[in-house]
Amino acid sequence: MNSQILDQLKREKILDLLKTGKRIDGRSLDEQRPLVIETGVIPKANGSARVKLGNTEIITGVKIQLDKPFPDLGDKGILICTAEILPLADPNAEPGPPNEEVIELARVVDRGIRETEMIDLHKLVLIEDKSVIGMFIDSSVIDSGGNLFDACSYASVAGILSCTVPKWEVKDDVPTLVEGVTSKPPIKTLPVSVTMARIGDYVIVDPTKDEESCMDARITITTNSEGNICAVQKGGSDGFTAEQLIQCAETALTVGRKIRKQFEQLM
């Protein structure tokens, strides 16, 4: 009950500010919070990153191991992105099986990286239909400050960019690990996810936790380096007009370019 009244007050304050073109933390409507990327933070993982997007903080680890391909995708390696909100990240997060928000988060992050075809999965095949390289990109939210979609996506991309892939040689139809030899993962493009929230008639980029608590609807758009739109997910309990959505796609492309530059420095 209490928090609902607070959310209502917050919404009024945030909306009043938006009417004057301002946001509660002083940003402009299409401005993201500063993104800080640190890689190689978990040496036991094949790749890792710690990402801060404002008050949101994520740690991602990439594990690479020998795997069997999916039965219908024998000519492709395996790529799986997951995300979880650790109980220490948020007073409302609980241990136990993931709820629908967390499942959506993980699936949207995975979709962004998969549909942009960031990694050339054909190059992860060792023996067709039998043996492939599997890449597991697991993100943990350690501090939740809003816009977990983009933060987890950036951490996953940074983790992948920082990783080194072990080498397996096929001898007598058996893949054998070659010690001490690694290579860069086969990267084709850089996905950038941009999440926007609609509060009243205003669409803002990279909402904070406070802004999310009073938003009407949300949209996450992932673009690739070639300027294509590759994944979209609308969320929240209200809608957008078609014009707003087309505007959002343009914003995702422009804002995405800045973030992509930051990724390029990691390559």
Partner: protein
Amino acid sequence: MTEDGIRCDGRRLDELRNISIKVGVLKNADGSAYIEFGKNKILAGVFGPRDVHPKHMANPDSGILRCRYHMSPFSVTERKNPAPSRREIEISKVIKEALQPAVILKDYPRTVIDVFIEVLQADGGSRCAALDAAAVALADAGIPMRDLVSACAAGKVADRIVLDVNNEEDQEGQADMPVALMPNLGKVTLLQLDGMLKPEEFKTCMQTALVGCKRVYEIQRKALMEKYFQNGEQ
């Protein structure tokens, strides 16, 4: 697909599959609908407004909407494990959020409206078909609504933008974009995309899907009219 744009199932680029909707097909549910959308066969049942269990989920200021999208084990080629998958949980969430703007929940504080969707046979675009049935079932339950919700997908297949992507096209296609619209309010309440689209294709694809949604709306309306105004009375 042929040169002049005839698709693998004989449809034109901007043609929907056959859709038929029956309203009030379940005796126990407060509202229900059955939809056949191409080869998709989907049932939707609505219960409520009713007491919330567990109690702590109740909201003193508003009713809540819950939604479960579930696929029968026999609905797809390979048997599907009956336990809800992560995909089904995500779809349940996006369907709920697509319906929520249309339902006037404020009128029913401390109660829940449950929407149960069972996909008996799936063939591409099942989330849109499910949403179409669910919206009709909500209306059939007599729940006050701002608008219906009509859904339809568009996509990119063999470099062309097509309406209402079927299973085969989804597997081979370059993009699939499910869209839901409140047709009278002009609000998009569901939008997803996987695939690769240039910015201008993104626009065309969305507009194509929106045209589809409006056609679906007419079919939904007709189905409701058939049940409630059988003798031509209004």
